[in-house]
Subunit: 499 residues, 2 copies
């Protein structure tokens, strides 16, 4: 277990001050060139040294013929070269004194026995020079807080709180856009590839110590060090949630996992056991992995599983109720006091059952202020689930009819929505109860986007909201259990899945 | 059973040539005014007669003090008035000879015994004058093919092929945007409210006969005529798929269903039985209802359940494989002949297992032409599931680096993507096998949007794709079973859920 983040072999890989870049050129269709472009585009402020046999300059950076020619020993080497020259490049890095590397190149263990042999050679070279490295066959790292993104796809959105360790590089580089659209961002994302030297357990340990990471997401096709996984996860989950998507549970999934990174995929039940013992929340799909991450990274601890639904439409309320019921939540009836307070402001047709159906509020502002305020005061509830539509269309129309010019309508509507979001945020933060939204509109509309930007999770279906809320409950249940287990017990337990 | 669509009591409600509109005024915050605005905004070409005691003109239409003053007998009356005056208005409509109505107003059976009594009175008046009506407590109809949308929210997107009958008005009016974003549109959507006169079974019968409707979606909180439901559904499912979301399955969901339209929600297993016997596919969430509708409304009949996955990234391929496995699909290995053809064009690092991982294609155009062509030729496969990313970001960057002005880059990229979509569409239509896409990007980006606009379903997660594909398989399985049942057998079966 590391005592400080700097002790992690990943620290210089995630936070390099200088990078030797192998495989970028002025041929823009090469993977190395594409990856260097991403790095440059995001505005990485460290020193970049492209290494190229013939080019004098690559993307405006002075290029060096050989790593030996560099004016300093860089913190990190990124290697995106043809398979055949990877070992000799690693050796050259070693001679230069470089201690950390990312090997993007494929053609190793994942392609069969010949590749496995090549990978062993690579490992021996690294060991001989004391080099720690990610890969081979990976996409490396994205640390958006440092504007570090040497992965193929440009970063999108601000840095966030999701720390990812992934046995698929795609789920690093192809997810910037997804995370941003869904109200999140990576703190640091790590693609481990074949895990020849640094593996998912090392990443988990790093992310556990990383101050920017509020929740750890794992994409796993096979765990090589089962006992270490449990040990490290148990040291993290009492203070930081971990969510894992394990692919390999079905026969077909198992075959896909095998073909991808060459890791041995174990049976589903074993992984279930490992996760449960470690306090790790299991997701079934990639959407769930990040849905759960959003809830776990933003919501306070709920006191229990009683939820009030606030809606202004019957059907969406019933759908939420159904989803919550399926996920094991209780929908308590409101106390007479709460009903009395609501009745004073709601129209006759409104329902003060649970779901609370406010229908067509007399004052639409109440939906974001007085009503949630009353519902959060209710003693017999632990969480609030709110249905949101987009008021923009209404506002546009009614103002348009009144003869307001479109530009002014847009401005007024935007201001009003922004104001509603602020008011809502101010109300809910007073209670410390988890508040979750759902909508069938796009998350990119001002209402949902504004809530997400305020750290209020909004889901595109009440089912997704309910499952994420259930993951939150489950995390806090497991967390208490894990925290109660002594280190001694951990030591005594048999290993479960040494790969 | 109706022999022609014109026989349905819904025909004049869905296809009115003239409408008497009660409850719209020049006060734009009233529900009636909002609903009239939607109707006008979409460009309904029939005659509109606002009825208002004091206004002379409403939204540019001549207003009439009383329905008796109208110059003709309109096909339809839409009533959005306070509860107290609904009965007398219905009576006035009857005297005028109006035979069809939508009663939007609430305050009837859904509010308790007093409301139930009021509803009985309304029913008696309608019966006396031979009026057929939707509601009360509903949002009526949207027939986008006729530019008819007298519901509160403006319509979005072109008319489509999903016919909806819903016991929640929200799932009519609040879903225009959702359906359009997900590649669909309503043919006709019907909100049945309290079903005092016309119910879900009548709607199903209408939609079964509706030529614009390729798939029927139902949102159900309780079925009143169980035997009729089964009878009508069985007459439809052999030629048109029906998908149903039934809410009321959990205790909490049951309570929500009850509070909403006053229908008696039955136990989950009974509904399961009704749907299975009727050949109706059951959805668990609203997202599933429309995910299934998309697949059922666009895809041809698959010959079996063997799927090839085409991906260019390992993780997304493994995730799809896992989802397909969970939904009962087989992932066959490719035949030697197919592998040989692929090997000739794929890079060394590509995988010709299933998922077929094309990695970084030598010629990116192959991804949309030669590769799916080869995979669809494969004898041992019935369906193709393809992973899509958005090539725009790449194109922008590489062209940008080459010094092309941003406007030109955008133009070139758009043309290229549009061309890829056309080529892909031309390839897949030759084989008659279902082809489905998935992506983690927004469906509004050009690639996914273009595919959707060509009637190729694209889902935002392979899990959603796999479940929709499973619904397709299930529909064709049930359809054969239902088609084999004789009418006599139907007559002999006991009723299952008379409400």
């Amino acid at each position: 277990m590391i005592a400080a983040i700097e002790e992690s072999p990943l620290y210089p890989i995630v936070n390099p001050k200088s990078i030797a870049f192998f495989g970028a050129s002025n041929n823009f269709n090469r993977m190395g060139s594409i990856m260097l472009s991403s790095l440059v585009d995001l505005g990485y402020e460290g020193r970049i040294y492209p290494i190229h046999r013939t080019e004098k300059e690559v993307r405006g950076y002075k290029a060096y013929q050989s790593v030996e020619d560099l004016p300093e020993t860089p913190d990190l080497a990124i290697i995106v070269l043809p398979t055949d020259v990877v070992c000799e490049t690693m050796e050259a890095c070693g001679r230069k004194g470089i201690k950390h590397a990312i090997v993007v190149s494929g053609g190793f263990k994942e392609v069969g026995p010949k590749g496995a042999h090549r990978q062993q050679k690579l490992e021996r070279i690294a060991d001989a020079y004391g080099i720690r490295f990610l890969g081979p066959n990976c996409l490396g790292v994205a640390n958006l807080h440092l504007k570090l993104n040497p992965t193929p796809i440009p970063a999108e959105g601000p840095p966030g709180f999701v720390g990812l360790a992934s046995q698929s590089g795609s789920f690093v580089t192809q997810m910037f856009n997804y995370l941003h659209r869904h109200g999140m961002g990576f703190s640091t994302a790590l693609s481990v590839g074949n895990e020849a030297n640094i593996d998912v357990v090392d990443c988990m340990e790093y992310l556990g110590a990383c101050p920017n990471t509020k929740v750890i997401a794992l994409y796993i096709e096979g765990i090589r060090r089962g006992r270490d996984f449990i040990h490290v996860a148990r040291s993290i989950t009492p203070h930081k949630p971990i969510v894992a998507l394990y692919i390999g549970g079905s026969e077909t999934g198992k075959r896909a996992g095998l073909s991808h990174t060459g890791a041995l995929a174990g049976p589903d039940a074993v992984y279930d056991g490992i996760f449960r013992q470690s306090g790790v929340i299991r997701a079934t799909t990639l959407s769930e992995l990040f849905d759960f991450s959003l809830a776990l990274g933003t919501l306070p601890k709920p006191r229990g599983n009683r939820v009030i639904i606030q809606t202004h439409s019957g059907g969406p309320g019933a759908a939420a109720s159904d989803s919550l019921g399926r996920s094991g939540f209780e929908l308590p009836l409101l106390s007479p006091d709460t009903i009395k307070k609501l009745r004073a402001i709601l129209p006759k047709t409104a329902s003060t059952n649970n779901p609370v159906d406010v229908t067509f509020s007399k004052n639409p502002l109440d939906d974001f202020s007085t009503i949630p305020d009353i519902l959060l005061q209710e003693e017999h509830t632990d969480m609030l689930l709110v249905y949101f539509v987009s008021p923009e269309a209404f506002l546009h129309r009614s103002s348009g009819i009144l003869g307001m010019p479109p530009e002014e309508v847009r401005h007024v509507a935007q201001q009003l929505v922004a104001q509603n979001i602020e008011i809502f945020f101010d109300v809910i933060k007073r209670y410390g109860k988890p508040v979750v939204g759902y909508t069938y509109r796009s998350l990119q509309e001002q209402m949902a986007r504004g809530l997400l930007d305020h750290g209020i999770p909004v889901y595109q279906d009440p089912e997704r909201a309910a499952r994420a809320m259930a993951a939150l409950i489950e995390y806090h249940r497991l967390r208490e259990k894990i925290a109660a287990i002594s280190t001694q017990e951990l030591e005594d337990e048999p290993a479960c899945a040494e790969g």
